[in-house]
Symmetry: C2
Amino acid sequence: MERIPILRMGEFLLVTIQVDMHDQLALTLQEDLTTMIQKKNAKGVLIDISALEIVDSFIGRMIADISAMSRLLDARTVLVGMQPAVAITLVELGLSLSGVRTALNVERGMRLLRMDWDSWEGVDGRHRG
Amino acid sequence: MERIPILRMGEFLLVTIQVDMHDQLALTLQEDLTTMIQKKNAKGVLIDISALEIVDSFIGRMIADISAMSRLLDARTVLVGMQPAVAITLVELGLSLSGVRTALNVERGMRLLRMDWDSWEGVDGRHRG
């Protein structure tokens, strides 16, 4: 397993993390993802972690980094599928992933990205409540 | 890693295979998938193997089995993301995965499922060419 696959779904990209991350794999993922955002003109990234039973500070930081990088490339990131136990651990560890948006599952994440995108597309001087 | 996550995307399910399969993991996947097809009333299953560099007869049979099981539960299966080298090996091994439909990537696979579903929805005695 050398790289984590990135699936394109319309204007969004989906990354499913199923394996233990290590430095090189995380770096490769960041490279692949940023390249793909640019090449495919992707508007959003969904990171699915439903397979992860543990999210440590390394993965937490990687997710925050990916989110920040995507934002610089004008793509929004949504983290989906977090298991309840992971949410508990993250808060206990003091890793609240601030700045990273989350959704219950891929479907809701995609809806969130779509709403977001529509609202950006629709913005032309009007104030939106 | 005890189970492969199954993501719901509208009326379809997406399975991304990233890790080496073994007996128990394959059985768990089949159980999880068939349960989810029934519970979520899924109309189609996308199996993404873009991360696999090798598909042996075990995985080939597992995919064929999943496809057959899904069909019995009234869901269609499309295998997506096959690497060119995998296609070569499969044919050389005599595993042509007959009965399993394929598409280049998730997007096209989803379009295929949607077309398929629409055509089924639209069938009411009319002959479709």
